[in-house]
C-alpha cells in the first residue's frame, strides 16, 4: 500500500459571514502518486476543501495530516512542496507573463524551467505581453505554469481546464498526466465527468458539503452507467433509432440482423453523464452554472 500524503478526518468548515456550512464532516485519504478527483456541482464545497488543504482557510474543524504529521506542525516550508492552480487565475496585470513567473519563482528554493513550461502551454510567444492583455484561456494556462514553478510534489488544481479550448485543455491534461508519471500527486476538482475519466485514479463525489461516494471512475461508470447500446441505422432512406440492453446483446436477434442488413449510422454505449450520476448518487439535479 502506498504512502498517504493527505489524511483528512471529519473535516468541517463554516464561513463566518453568512454562517454557511460549506464542508460537512468529510473524510478521505490521498495516496502518493495518484490523481484524486473532487467531483461535484457548483457550490458543493470543492473550492472550500482546496482552500483548507492549501491553508488559505484556517478555522476548520477536524483533523488533517500531511505526510504523516499534523497540519499545525508545518510552517511556510509546506508551500515549498505544493503547487496551487486557482479556480480564477490571479496575477499582476501590469506585469508581463514572464515577469509574473519570475517574481513568484524567486520566492521558492526549488525552481522549474519557466521557459520550457511556457513553451509547453503555448505562451512563449506572448511571454512579454502584459497579463492584463491575456485572454481568459491564456490566463488559465499561465495559472498552471505558476502552479508548477517550484517543481512541486503535490498539485492542487481547481477546475484548471475551465475556459480552455479542447487543444489547450489537452495540453494541460497531458502535463497533469506527466506530473503524475514523474511521481507527483494531484488533488483535482472539477465538474466535468470527462476530466475525471481521463485523469483521475479515484474520485470523491461531493454534494452540499458532504462526500457521497469515493470510487474509481470505472467503478462509478459500471455502477451508474446505463448498460445499453443506442444504434442509429438507415432503413429505406430513413434514419431509425433502436436501443439494446448490453448484457443480452450477443443473443439479441433483432440486433444481429440489424447489423447484418442495415447501414449503421452511429453506435453509442450508454454515456454516463454528470447529470445521470448525480441524480443517482445524490438525488439532486446538477446545475452547471459555471
Amino acid at each position: 500500500m502506498s504512502k498517504k500524503v493527505f489524511e483528512v478526518k471529519d473535516l468541517s468548515f463554516t464561513y463566518q459571514k453568512h454562517g454557511i456550512k460549506a464542508v460537512n464532516a468529510i473524510s478521505f485519504d490521498i495516496v502518493e502518486g495518484e490523481i484524486f478527483g473532487l467531483l461535484g456541482p457548483s457550490g458543493a464545497g470543492k473550492s472550500t476543501t482546496q482552500k483548507i488543504l492549501t491553508r488559505l482557510l484556517k478555522n476548520y474543524q477536524g483533523n488533517i495530516q500531511y505526510m504523516g504529521k499534523d497540519f499545525s506542525q508545518y510552517g511556510n516550508d509546506f508551500y515549498e512542496d505544493i503547487g496551487v492552480g486557482f479556480e480564477l487565475p490571479v496575477h499582476f496585470s501590469k506585469l508581463s507573463g514572464m515577469e509574473n513567473m519570475r517574481f513568484f519563482q524567486n520566492l521558492y528554493e526549488s525552481k522549474a524551467d519557466i521557459e520550457a513550461l511556457m513553451k509547453r502551454v503555448g505562451l512563449f510567444e506572448d511571454k512579454d505581453r502584459l497579463v492584463g492583455e491575456y485572454s481568459k484561456g491564456m490566463k488559465m494556462r499561465l495559472n498552471f505554469v505558476r502552479a508548477m514553478l517550484n517543481n512541486p510534489k503535490f498539485l492542487f488544481l481547481d477546475e484548471v481546464t475551465n475556459g480552455l479550448d479542447p487543444k489547450n485543455a489537452k495540453i494541460i491534461k497531458d502535463l497533469i498526466r506527466e506530473f503524475k508519471e514523474g511521481g507527483g500527486t494531484v488533488l483535482l476538482s472539477t465538474h466535468l465527468m470527462n476530466d475525471v475519466e481521463e485523469l483521475c485514479d479515484r474520485v470523491a463525489f461531493i454534494s452540499k458539503g458532504e462526500i457521497r461516494e469515493i470510487a474509481t471512475p470505472k467503478a462509478l461508470k459500471m455502477k451508474y452507467g446505463k448498460r445499453e447500446l443506442r444504434v442509429e441505422y438507415k432503413d429505406q432512406e430513413q434514419v431509425k433509432l433502436e436501443v439494446f440492453d448490453l448484457d443480452t446483446i450477443s443473443k439479441n436477434d433483432t440486433f444481429l440482423t440489424l447489423v447484418k442488413n442495415n447501414a449503421i449510422q452511429t453506435m453509442h454505449s450508454g454515456e454516463t453523464t454528470m447529470d445521470d450520476i448525480f441524480i443517482r448518487v445524490t438525488g439532486d439535479t446538477f446545475h452547471e452554472d459555471a
Binding site: 491553508r55 511556510n76 505544493i82 486557482f86 480564477l88 515577469e99 513568484f104 524567486n106 505558476r146
Partner: protein, 239 residues
C-alpha cells in the same frame, strides 16, 4: 532572507509598472513648483509644511494605492500559497513606502537647498524622515485594511487629515492660540511637524522631540502587531 529579497524586488518592480514612483515624483515636482511660486522669502516657511504634507498625507495615500491594486487583483492570495511569510510581504510594502518618502524628500529638499539656501540639520532630519515615513506608511496600511474600496480610503484619509493635520497646519501658520499646543501633542501628525521643524533648524524642546519619536515608534509597533499582522491575511484578500 532570500525570499525577502525577492519580495522587495517585486515590490519595486511594481512601483514602476503601476506608475506609483512616477506619480510620487510628479507630486515632488508639484511641491517644488509651489515653492518657486511663493518665492525665495516665503519658501523657508513653506518648505517644512511641504515636507510635512509629503511625509504624512502622501505616504498614507501611496500605501493605500499599492494595497488597493493588490486587493483589486487579489494577488495576495497567490503570495499566500508561496513560502513567503505574511510579515515579509507586509515589510516589503512598508520599505517601498519609506523609499518613496525619501525619494520625494531628497528631490524637494535637495532642489530647495540649492535654490533658496535653506538651513537644516542633516542627520536628525534624515532620522526623523525615516520615523515619520515609517509611522505614516503603517497608518496608510491600517486605513486601507479598514476601507472597502478606494473611495472609502480617501474618505478615511480626509477625516484623518481634518482631525490631525489641519490643526497643526493652522497652528504653524499662527491661526490658532498657543493654549492648544499641549492638546496637539496627542496628534501623531503634530509631533511629526515638530520633528520636521527641528530638522529645518527651528528650536524645538528636546523633550518634545524625544516624546515625538517614542510616540511614533511605539504607535507603529502597536499598529503592526495588533492590526496589520492579524488582519492583513484576512482583509487583504477578496471573497
Amino acid at each position: 532572507m532570500k525570499t525577502l529579497k525577492g519580495l522587495l524586488r517585486g515590490e519595486f518592480q511594481r512601483l514602476i509598472k503601476y506608475n506609483i514612483i512616477q506619480v510620487s515624483f510628479g507630486v515632488s515636482v508639484l511641491w517644488l513648483l509651489i515653492l518657486f511660486l511663493v518665492g525665495k522669502e516665503e519658501a523657508g516657511v513653506f518648505l517644512p509644511l511641504v515636507v510635512f504634507m509629503d511625509l504624512t498625507m502622501m505616504s498614507v495615500l501611496l500605501m493605500g494605492v499599492s494595497l488597493f491594486y493588490e486587493r483589486q487583483e487579489n494577488t495576495l492570495k497567490t503570495l499566500m500559497v508561496t513560502p513567503a511569510p505574511m510579515w515579509g510581504i507586509a515589510v516589503s510594502k512598508i520599505i517601498a513606502s519609506i523609499y518613496l518618502a525619501f525619494q520625494s524628500v531628497v528631490v524637494v529638499v535637495g532642489v530647495a537647498y540649492f535654490a533658496f539656501d535653506i538651513a537644516f540639520r542633516l542627520l536628525p532630519f534624515l532620522a526623523f524622515v525615516l520615523i515619520i515615513a515609517l509611522a505614516h506608511g503603517i497608518l496608510g496600511f491600517v486605513l486601507s485594511l479598514f476601507s472597502k474600496d478606494f473611495n472609502g480610503l480617501l474618505a478615511l484619509i480626509m477625516a484623518y487629515m481634518i482631525v490631525f493635520a489641519f490643526p497643526s497646519i493652522f497652528y504653524a501658520l499662527g491661526l490658532m492660540s498657543e493654549s492648544i499646543e499641549p492638546l496637539l501633542l496627542l496628534s501623531p501628525t503634530h509631533v511629526s511637524l515638530l520633528m520636521i521643524n527641528y530638522g529645518f533648524d527651528q528650536s524645538i524642546e528636546t523633550f518634545e522631540l524625544i516624546y515625538g519619536m517614542l510616540y511614533l515608534i511605539i504607535a507603529s509597533l502597536v499598529l503592526w502587531k495588533y492590526l496589520i499582522l492579524p488582519l492583513y491575511p484576512i482583509k487583504g484578500v477578496k471573497e
